[in-house]
């Protein structure tokens, strides 16, 4: 079976900054891949390249065997690759239902069908009680769920989650982790950028680490966490040889 996502040699430069350098990734259809790395490592740039918001300088992106380089974000979404934004972007004056319906309309052009589907997804992410509230009035945790719901409503096969847990408290994070697990169990592959290590460790089947735009390590969560180059990237060289506790 071909991988769901196959990235090779992906590069993008901003002026003098090589934001992403020769990035290669491969994802199976039911996988959760964590993408971690220090601030400025190029994680969000990688997301922007994969979702069509930025064009790569060079490199190949194959989604379900087909090249998606040069496609616009909406076309990529229709193929089944949907992303969320690190800084959530709800339509603030629209209700939760109307927000999610915009996503649902991409698969169900009839308003009634889309509304029906949106209701299901909103219940699924646990926002059922806020259906008719304007999105601008939601708490951060609720807005993160809304962001997730809107993306889910497009019925993706691969979901790109950009820091859906940032700014949440431990209880809220636990709830989102459970939610992401359920989404994955329903057959959606997930690529997630996350700074919360405990969440990434418990969610990811594999983890890839970026530093200065390059993938430095990739592998099982525990192996990655103890890898000297990862420790160096996060904490500095002097910690690499420090005695472990």
């Amino acid at each position: 079976m071909t991988p769901l996502l196959e990235v090779s040699g992906l590069s993008r430069r901003f002026g003098g900054l090589q934001a992403v350098r020769e990035l290669s990734l491969s994802m199976a259809r039911d996988e959760v891949l964590g993408l971690i790395g220090p601030n400025g490592a190029g994680k969000t740039t990688a997301f922007n390249l994969l979702s069509g918001f930025l064009a790569p300088d060079h490199g190949q992106i194959r989604f379900d065997g087909r090249s998606i380089v040069g496609l616009s974000p909406h076309a990529i979404c229709h193929l089944g690759l949907c992303r969320t934004f690190q800084i959530v972007r709800p339509f603030p004056r629209l209700s939760v239902l109307d927000n999610v319906r915009v996503g649902a309309l991409s698969r169900r052009p009839r308003m009634e069908d889309a509304r029906h589907r949106a209701r299901e997804v909103i219940e699924q992410v646990g926002l059922g009680g806020k259906m008719d509230h304007p999105a601008g009035g939601l708490t951060l945790a609720e807005r993160k769920r809304l962001e997730l719901a809107r993306a889910l409503a497009t019925e993706p096969r691969l979901l790109l989650l950009d820091e859906v847990m940032a700014g949440l408290n431990p209880t809220e994070i636990e709830a989102i982790v459970a939610l992401v697990k359920r989404i994955n169990a329903s057959g959606v592959a997930i690529l997630l950028i996350e700074h919360n290590m405990r969440a990434v460790m418990s969610l990811s089947h594999r983890i890839a680490v970026l530093n200065f735009g390059e993938k430095i390590v990739e592998g099982e969560p525990t192996a990655v966490a103890n890898h000297p180059r990862v420790i160096e990237a996060y904490l500095g060289e002097e910690y690499v040889h420090a005695p472990s506790r």
Binding site: H74, C82, F91, L105, M111, R150
Partner: protein, 316 residues
């Protein structure tokens, strides 16, 4: 709400029987500007693309219908569709340049103004369409030439235009097209991520909007019988088109109508009272003050504010 609309419609249909000819004229302008505002509402109100050059579409439609009638003998009833199509063609060009190259906010405003100004200058310098002297239509009073002896016929035609445009906007709002336009106004990037082809829907909105506005050009030409480039392509007309839906509530079905019922009589009154003795144009100052007040106190316009007032006692 439904019976209220039906009652209002019945009143408007019966009104000419009791109105003076002057009052009928005031209503004609209310309807006509509500129609233009409604057409603008599609791209400006719903899609949030602030075109400040909609006069260009009125002018193209007006000159097209007038010239086709005089030169080829084509009845303006068909000429108005031709004018609409030509205006839509211009709208396509403006929209393509603006949306393909991602002009947002003020840059899009400037682009639309620039196009209207180019149209105005071309018309001013083209002798075949009367140039700076303007283009005049001979009055025949022949209904087939979109000309009527009785002012009240214009009343019903303008009312019809307003109702058609309102029906179009109401239909758009109920469909995916409308839901997408509203979402595009709120956040374009988020729309793209959710599978919305923002370029296509903004273009569609522009085409429908400019077509309707161009159709309005025929009414303009055959109601006023004179086309002056400075008036029909001018920035003041573009402002008249934009300000009604903004005051009434941009992006709502009834906003442009409410805005026109507020502003058109105001413009007429200030024209009557300040028109002589070098005070003409004072209504523009009134517009400015009103616009500032609306932006400060009712940023979403009068109609949403009215709705809240209406809903509050009912909720208790």
């Amino acid at each position: 709400m439904k019976w209220l609309g039906a009652a209002a419609l019945a009143v408007l249909l019966a009104l000419p029987a009791v109105l003076s000819s002057y009052a009928v004229t005031v209503f004609i302008f209310i309807f006509f500007y509500a129609f233009l505002g409604q057409a603008w509402n599609i791209v400006g109100g719903y899609a949030g693309q602030l075109s400040a050059g909609h006069a260009a579409f009125v002018g193209v439609g007006a000159y097209a219908a007038a010239l086709l009638s005089a030169q080829v003998g084509l009845t303006p009833w068909i000429g108005m569709l031709v004018g609409g199509v030509l205006a839509a063609a211009l709208g396509t060009v403006v929209g393509y340049l603006g949306f393909r190259f991602g002009l947002r906010g003020f840059y899009f405003v400037l682009l639309t103004v620039a196009f209207a100004e180019v149209c105005r200058i071309v018309a001013l310098n083209t002798d075949a369409v009367g140039g700076a002297l303007g283009y005049y239509i001979t009055f025949t009073g022949n209904p087939r030439q979109f000309q009527f002896q009785d002012n009240r016929v214009y009343y019903y035609v303008a009312l019809g235009l307003m109702l058609v445009a309102t029906a179009v906007v109401a239909a758009i709002e109920r469909r995916r097209f409308g839901a997408y336009l509203i979402a595009i106004r709120e956040d374009e990037s988020a729309c793209e991520a959710l599978g919305v082809n923002t370029f296509r829907y903004k273009m569609l909105a522009m085409v429908v909007s400019s077509f309707l506005t161009g159709v309005g050009g025929t009414f303009y030409a055959f109601y006023l019988f004179s086309l002056q480039p400075n008036a029909v392509f001018g920035i003041p007309l573009s402002v008249e088109i934009v300000i009604r839906p903004i005051v009434g509530g941009a992006g709502t079905v009834l906003g442009p109508i409410l805005g026109s019922f507020i502003l058109s009589p105001l413009a007429e009154a200030s024209r009557v009272y300040f028109g002589q003795g070098g005070w003409s144009g004072v209504h523009l100052i009134a517009y400015g003050i009103l616009l500032i007040a609306v932006v400060l106190f009712l940023p979403q316009g009068a109609y949403p504010a009215l709705r809240r007032l209406w809903a509050r006692p009912a909720a208790r």
